[in-house]
Symmetry: D5
């Protein structure tokens, strides 16, 4: 069983049982964004994490084993994502990519935000003009070092 | 003069005069990320904003006028950005795109984070294990509505 | 069952039973364009909508459940669509894209037509020189707002 | 002088003189969307139309002549447009392309909406929940005929 | 059964029975080029046409029904076709595309050759220096009309 | 001077002098389609042909010399042509490419229509339902021969 | 059975029986390069050739029939081939393509080497500094002829 | 001066003076195919070779110096070459690439034909049915060796 | 069984049995990097090597036979690899490709590092600031030789 | 002056003066690979480094200033590099990318080799069978850490 098939099994079980990602994350004992990524096949789970997810979602052993495998990462089906919810983040890159680069260099000097020593979360921030989606990307600064 | 040529003039003046984006933003009276984007040609400036920037950076009239034009947005030179500082954000999309989508749908239902009614900022968060780049993407939730 | 497989089941049932999209839309209680999109997998249906469609089209339970899932949107098989009926709309973009942009900015200022707070319809308008296809794209204006 | 250079001259003159597309269209005696397209280089103008535009915008003879040339059409700089205002229309195709195809075939049979015997307009429709951009695409139906 | 699977069934039956496209076209009562296109899935057949083809080729009911479906057209597997027999026509476009455009505009003015109100045929023309393939593309002229 | 610059000079002279491709072809003594292709840079001209064209169009010596150079052929700016008048011929390939292939193989056996030992012409054929553009592609059949 | 599946069956049988392409070519009575191409699905075989191959390789009837079908040619899985043994020939094109073009034009005038009236072979040429692979491409010259 | 500009200077001088590649190769003292490649910018020339070419073609010093520079190789303007004379060699790869691979492996084992320890030539071979272009690709076999 | 399916069988067995690549390499008697590449389908194994691997991993005969087949190499699923661990090496090419080229030419003259007469290894180098991944690419220099 | 123009100025000066990268690196006081990358525009130089390079190479002030600018990195002109010396490293990725990934994960666990906290060098290693190019990629291991 591939990690992609395992992800399908997870989605199916989640829909059938009506549990939320938050509930699964709590069972697994990890933040929601990490948990979703791992169950969709973008991170390997430890034996205990996979077992906790399998137990809540009533997943078979081969799913559980697939969740523990080292992934080959990369979840976009096309180079430019077509789904509008995901596309907006690509659009942010198109419009603000060089801006983010300038601000990182001004504040930190030459380097990057790590996407590996990294965490993100997605929050609702109430706003009278319409609630807001706030996505926080939080990665260690890595200076160019020879 | 195109907005791209104006952006080059801005970069050249900024380097020559040794001012920072923060100083320019303060002169313009707008948040730094917006100001950088506008000066790089991704947002139109008002007459007053363009004048404030021109005054600080000693820019000619045609630059000032170009800064006020409505842009055709899109700053990436290639569909997948090659610059490592920008690429890491594309990588975040490759690894976490579907995760962000799941969490938005779980919290808000079917819809998107607006990239138009939107603001972002880039901050340094001190950390003993290495300071962190924290990029906050903050857009209004837009539900699918017929 | 994926939403794509569900869409195939819908098409097959529609052909077998000889019902029209209009009849299905009436049964579902939603406008035709929305209904077609939802049944082709581009929108999630509510339980009641899926049940109404399933009842008219004699669809099995797993189809009905697939129709309720949150979609990953994006229906084009290639970046430039090959089918002539769809291609003409891409051609409209090639010829008139910047024109539409100019007219939106002249009338509304800097911003976009939402494709999320959005509806469309397709109508026949009789014309002695040959009836016309009139497609109305109707989306909320979203101004660039920081 | 190419039609692209002529379009740049038109944009520059329009900005310098502060006239609107509507005013130019009135001077040219053609609908606004057609006029914008023609001045951006997507349609050839008649001598009288080019002269009317040149007179209002104070354009030189070579611009006027370029406006009369037969264009090689196609205004998008990339296959998938990056500018958000234009991209939303590509997104409409991604989400609703097959829906529009289904509805054309159901109403008219096998055929297409012409993009040549075609007109469009862009309107503001007031709405208490936010005014709407309404783009009407209106093309002759062309049945597949051998 | 998809139209593509139906096309495979048609090819298999044709090879097994040793009938020619000309014989099938005669049975269907349509020109050969139309008939081949329809059986390969690029045009919908009427009930009578599908039945005539099915009867000659001994095709099952589901093939017959697939032949009647509205196609999503587009037969090339890659954007630039690799098969040499088909590639030569792409090469004609590379070498003569702008020439054809010039000659259409000189003779007809601004407009296109319809590919929908269109027919083609393929003929052998004997020639002592080697017989020639003559492909006639015959489409209605459509002037740009607003 | 490149052949592309020469083609621009030809177009400019043709527009300035108001001569037609037919008139130029007559002066050059070659069929119109060949003449247009050659002047647009897709065929080399003989000294006499280049001189005849230069004389009629009042072209300078360097243009004349460029017209005689061996071209690197290929006139499309993008892999899929965007101009609607040219695109329709790409669409013909998308819809009818495999059909043409089948008919060539049925009539001639395994082989291709040459695009090198090849001529084409573009004609107007009057039709009460709208005059027709008839493009004849006429190439020598080349059988696969080892 | 498709020609691709037939090619897989050929490869499997060849491996199982330990015969060489040379032995198969001898049985088929055709040069090795032609024989390999035909068995990999790039040329149609006559009944006798397919039978000879089938007899040597112990292939079933459906394989034999697939070998006789007219192919849609094109064996590369990606536009730029990834396999190093094949890539080197693409590299030859990148480095020497225009050189070959110049030398053909100098020797023969304007025209091409046919890839249809064409044969190739692959030989070992002993060399004390390391034996050499010599690939001879041998095609009829086809002059551009209108 | 870049090597590309030097190549343009070489082509222009060659056309002006009416010398052939063969004559230039003789002057340079290298085989024609190598000489053409080097002058088109795909190989670096020694001082003596560049001087010999410059002397025959009456080239300036900066051209001569550019001819001696180490090139960044790669002469195709598009990934799939559009020029028919060059395309036929890409087509050979599409049709015979895997065949050549099989024959190399059968004769030599696992490895490649070097495109670096490599020479090619282009010859005319008289043939009553039409003279033939014979291109010989001759590279050292390199076995996969760890 | 294809080499890709064999690679899946190898991965599954390795996970099930909990053996390491190092242990497998030792059993096969080849360096780890070669062994992994071969088992993932990028090199052919000898009968003895395949048997050794099969014996340790308890693989069936058809897997063993697939491991001995000549591969068509090329392991990346997309032209630009999406997996971050692999992407970093593509990034090295983007940032340092021309640097490596300059240094090879300065030290060796015109030529390449062979990727065929080639070996690599991956090592951990302890470092108080964080251990380092050291990948050594070691290929024979091949000078351009005609 | 852009960093690309500065790189051209560096190359020209280096050729004119006949200095080596090693000599420049020594003058700059940095390792050769870093120095080449910086001078080709992939790293920013300090004032002192730029001055040292400028002094040795007799570069003007604007070159010196351009060398100090923060680069937008990415040196490949095409997604797949065409130059053979660079391509071989892309080929290494095609053949060994997943192997390197496996070995990193086996030794270090889930994570990447940094391409930012990174150094490389290129060495000649004498070998009786032909000297070898040894490229060492040396980057800090970065574990996936939330």
């Amino acid at each position: 069983m591939t990690k992609k098939e395992a992800a399908e099994a997870v989605r199916a079980a989640k829909a059938r049982l009506g549990v939320t990602w938050d509930q699964i994350a709590e069972a697994v004992g990890r933040p929601p964004a990490w948990t979703v990524s791992a169950l969709l096949g973008e991170h390997p789970m430890s034996a205990a994490q996979a077992e906790a997810a399998a137990s809540l979602l009533d997943l078979k052993d081969d799913v559980q084993q697939a969740l523990r495998l080292q992934p080959t990462r990369g979840a976009l089906e096309t180079v430019v994502p077509a789904d509008p919810t995901i596309y907006r983040f690509y659009e942010v890159l198109q419009v603000y990519g060089p801006t983010i680069k300038e601000l990182i260099h001004e504040e930190f000097g030459d380097g990057i935000m790590s996407a590996v020593n990294f965490r993100l979360d997605v929050k609702r921030v109430p706003d009278p003009a319409g609630d807001r989606v706030v996505v926080t990307l939080d990665g260690k600064f890595l200076p160019y070092q020879w």
